[in-house]
C-alpha cells in the first residue's frame, strides 16, 4: 500500500531525531565548566562523597558507556533519582505532568480557535478595519513577554477584581487566566498565517471555478478553502507546540501551579540534573511525536501526499 509506505518512511525519519534529542539532553550535563558532582554537592564536599556520587551516577565511566547506560535506563522508564527530592524522577514527573498537559492543551485550543477565526475573518474582509485590527492585535500580543502578561492578568483579575484565585489549580475558574495568557500570546501566531494562507487559497483557480458553478460563497470558504489551508495550519501547529509548552512552563511559574514547569525551573536553579534531563527529554519527545502525528494527518487531508510520499 502506498499509504503504508508513506507512514513507514515518516517513522524511519523520526529515528535519527529521537537519537539526536536523547544525545542533546545527555550532553547538556557535560556542558558544565566543572565537575557536575562537585557542583551538585557544593564547595564543602569531601572527596569520598564525591567519589561515591560519581560512582553512583556512573560518571567514572567513559562518555559513550555513560550515554548507553543512561539510554538503557530510560528505555526501562528509569530517569534516575532526583538529588533535591531524593525521589525517582519518573515519579516526580508523573505527579506533575497532568497539570502541564492540561495547561498546554487548553492554551493550544484557545489559540488555534481564536487565531483561525480571526485569520479567516481578516482574509474575507481584506483591508477592512477588521483586517487591520487582526494584524495589529497579533503584533501586540507577540510583543509582550508571557511572564509579564501573566503577572498583569494576575494583578488585575486576581488581586484587584478578585474574579479568580491568585495561585494554584483549584478548579475550572483558576484555569481560565493561565490558559488565556497562553492562548492570547499564541493566537497571534495562528491568526496571521491563517490570514495569509486563506488569502492565497481564495486566489486559487478552484475557488473561482467553484464559484462559477454556483457554489455559495460560505460553502466555498468552508468546503473548498478551509480544507486547503489545513495542511499549512497543521504545520504551524506542530511548529508552535514547543513555544506553547515553553509558554505554559513560564505561566505555570507565575500562577504557582505545581506542574512540570515549576519542577523544571526549580531543578535548574538547584542543579538537580537528573530532573532537568528527564523533563527536557519528555518535552522534546512529545514535540517529536506531535510532528510525526502531524505528518500522518497531512496524508489524511491531502491525497497528493499519499501518492508522492512528500509534501507539495
Amino acid at each position: 500500500m502506498k499509504k503504508g509506505r508513506y507512514v513507514l518512511k515518516r517513522l524511519v525519519r523520526t529515528i535519527p531525531i529521537v537519537i539526536g534529542v536523547t544525545l542533546v539532553t545527555f550532553l547538556i550535563l557535560h556542558l558544565t565548566p566543572g565537575d557536575p558532582v562537585r557542583i551538585m554537592l557544593g564547595p564543602y564536599a569531601t572527596p569520598e562523597n564525591i567519589a561515591i556520587l560519581r560512582a553512583q551516577y556512573g560518571l567514572d565511566q567513559p562518555l559513550p558507556v555513560q550515554y548507553l547506560t543512561w539510554l538503557g535506563n530510560i528505555a526501562r522508564g528509569d530517569f534516575g533519582t532526583s538529588i533535591r527530592y531524593n525521589r525517582p524522577v519518573t515519579e516526580l514527573i508523573s505527579d506533575r505532568i497532568g497539570i502541564t498537559v492540561l495547561l498546554t492543551l487548553s492554551g493550544l485550543f484557545i489559540s488555534v480557535t481564536l487565531g483561525s477565526i480571526l485569520g479567516i475573518l481578516a482574509a474575507l474582509k481584506q483591508n477592512s478595519w477588521l483586517d487591520y485590527l487582526c494584524t495589529f492585535q497579533a503584533m501586540f500580543w507577540i510583543s509582550i513577554p508571557g511572564f509579564w502578561l501573566a503577572i498583569i492578568f494576575l494583578y488585575i483579575f486576581g488581586l484587584q477584581l478578585r474574579w479568580v484565585p491568585i495561585a494554584g489549580l483549584t478548579g475550572f475558574v483558576s484555569l481560565i487566566l493561565p490558559a488565556l495568557t497562553i492562548g492570547l500570546q499564541e493566537e497571534a501566531w495562528f491568526a496571521r498565517p491563517m490570514r495569509a494562507e486563506m488569502l492565497g487559497v481564495l486566489n486559487e483557480g478552484y475557488i473561482k471555478a467553484a464559484r462559477a458553478k454556483g457554489v455559495r460563497y460560505f460553502q466555498v470558504v468552508v468546503k473548498h478553502a478551509l480544507r486547503n489551508v489545513m495542511v499549512p495550519m497543521i504545520t504551524m501547529l506542530a511548529l508552535r507546540l514547543p513555544w506553547v509548552i515553553a509558554g505554559s512552563v513560564v505561566v505555570e511559574v507565575v500562577f504557582a501551579w505545581g506542574g512540570m514547569g515549576s519542577l523544571l525551573v526549580n531543578s535548574v536553579l538547584a542543579r538537580d540534573y537528573p530532573v532537568v534531563q528527564g523533563v527536557l527529554l519528555i518535552i522534546a519527545l512529545s514535540v517529536v511525536a506531535a510532528n510525526l502525528f502531524a505528518d500522518l494527518v497531512y496524508s489524511l487531508v491531502d491525497p497528493r501526499i499519499r501518492v508522492e510520499g512528500g509534501k507539495k
Partner: protein, 320 residues
C-alpha cells in the same frame, strides 16, 4: 435568432499599486442563442476581464464604472452578489478557465466535484447522481469514466482535467458557457482533441458559448461570430464569414492576414508594428492609432464609436 447576452458600454477599472488601470473601456457585444461567439485579442487586452465581469467574478480590486450586461433582459450588474450566486452562476451561465491544473480542487475526487454541481442545479435523487456524473464524463469523451471519477485531480493530465472542467460545468446545465482560453495551457495535439470534443457538443447540445482566446485558428474552427478586442475596447464585431471575406478594422485586417500567413496566434504577430499599449496610461483617441498605418489626425483625438455597418457587423474606426 434570439439575443441571449448583450454587453453595453462596459467599463471596468482596477486599482493597482502603480495607479488605476482602465481594463475595459466601453465593451459592446451581443451573443445570440445557440451560437459560438469568439472573443479574440492579444494578451492583456481585457478579454478575460470581460468574461469574469459577466459572472461577477472579478477580483476585489476591480471597479465596474459603467455599462450593462443584459442576460435575457435582466442587468447582471444590478443584481446583488447573493442573487447572482443563487440564480445565475452555474444555473444560467457557467465558466471554464485557462489553467486546468488549478481549476479543480486538489483535495476532492472528480466525482465529488461534479456531484456538487449536480446537487446544486438539478433535482435528482442521491442514487441517480452517480449515474449523472458518469454521463457527464462520457459526454466529454473521457475514457474509463467508471474509474476516473474516483481519481484526484493530480492523477489526471492537463487535457483530461480541462475535459473534466467542461463536464463539471455542463453538469450544471447552463444556458451559456464562457470558456476563457481553455486550450492555451494544453499541448497542441491535446488542443485538437479538446476542440473536437467541443465541436461535437456544439452539434449535440445546441450550446451557446462565449469562447475567449488569442488563437484565431481555434476561433475559425469553432465560432459563428467574433468580437475583436484591442486594449480594452471592441474593435469590430462580425460574423465568421465576414471575418475572412470582409474585415473592416485595420487591426482585424492585420489579424486575418497574419493567420493566412504562417503565424496563427496573436502573440506571434510581428506584422503589426509597435506593441500593445499598457492600459495604465493608454494612448488617447483610438487606442490602435500608434500602430495603425491608416491613422489620420482625428484618430489620436477622438475614440471612434462602434457603428453598425450591416446586420451583425459593427466596427469602431474613423476611416470606415
Amino acid at each position: 435568432m434570439e439575443e441571449l447576452l448583450k454587453i453595453e458600454q462596459l467599463q471596468v477599472a482596477f486599482s493597482t499599486e502603480e495607479g488605476p488601470v482602465e481594463a475595459l473601456d466601453g465593451v459592446e457585444l451581443t451573443i445570440l442563442q445557440g451560437t459560438f461567439h469568439g472573443l479574440i485579442g492579444e494578451t492583456g487586452c481585457g478579454k478575460s476581464v470581460t468574461g469574469q465581469a459577466i459572472l461577477g467574478l472579478l477580483d476585489n480590486n476591480a471597479l465596474i464604472k459603467g455599462g450593462r450586461i443584459l442576460y435575457r433582459d435582466q442587468d447582471l450588474l444590478r443584481l446583488s452578489p447573493r442573487k447572482i450566486e443563487r440564480t445565475i452562476r452555474g444555473k444560467e451561465i457557467a465558466m471554464i478557465f485557462q489553467d486546468p491544473g488549478s481549476s479543480l480542487n486538489p483535495l476532492f475526487t472528480i466525482k465529488n466535484q461534479i456531484e456538487e454541481a449536480i446537487r446544486l442545479h438539478r433535482k435528482a435523487p442521491a442514487e441517480k447522481r452517480e449515474e449523472m456524473v458518469l454521463q457527464a464524463l462520457k459526454q466529454v469523451k473521457l475514457p474509463d469514466a467508471e474509474n476516473l471519477m474516483y481519481r484526484y485531480p493530480h492523477q489526471l493530465s492537463g487535457g483530461m482535467k480541462q475535459r473534466v472542467m467542461i463536464a463539471m460545468m455542463l453538469a450544471c446545465n447552463p444556458k451559456l458557457l464562457i470558456a476563457d482560453e481553455p486550450t492555451t495551457a494544453l499541448d497542441v495535439s491535446i488542443q485538437a482533441q479538446f476542440i473536437k470534443v467541443l465541436k461535437e457538443l456544439k452539434e449535440k447540445l445546441s450550446l451557446t458559448v462565449l469562447y475567449i482566446t488569442h488563437d484565431l485558428a481555434v476561433i475559425s474552427e469553432l465560432c459563428d461570430y467574433v468580437s475583436v478586442m484591442y486594449a480594452g475596447r471592441i474593435a469590430e464585431n462580425l460574423s465568421m464569414r465576414d471575418l475572412f471575406k470582409d474585415p473592416r478594422h485595420p487591426y482585424t485586417i492585420k489579424l486575418v492576414n497574419s493567420v493566412l500567413g504562417a503565424t496563427t496566434t496573436l502573440d506571434q504577430l510581428e506584422e503589426i508594428p509597435g506593441s500593445v499599449p499598457r492600459l495604465i496610461n493608454p494612448p488617447g483617441g483610438c487606442r490602435f492609432h500608434p500602430r495603425c498605418e491608416e491613422a489620420i489626425p482625428v484618430c489620436s483625438q477622438e475614440a471612434p464609436p462602434l457603428r453598425e455597418i450591416k446586420a451583425n457587423h459593427s466596427v469602431a474606426c474613423h476611416r470606415r
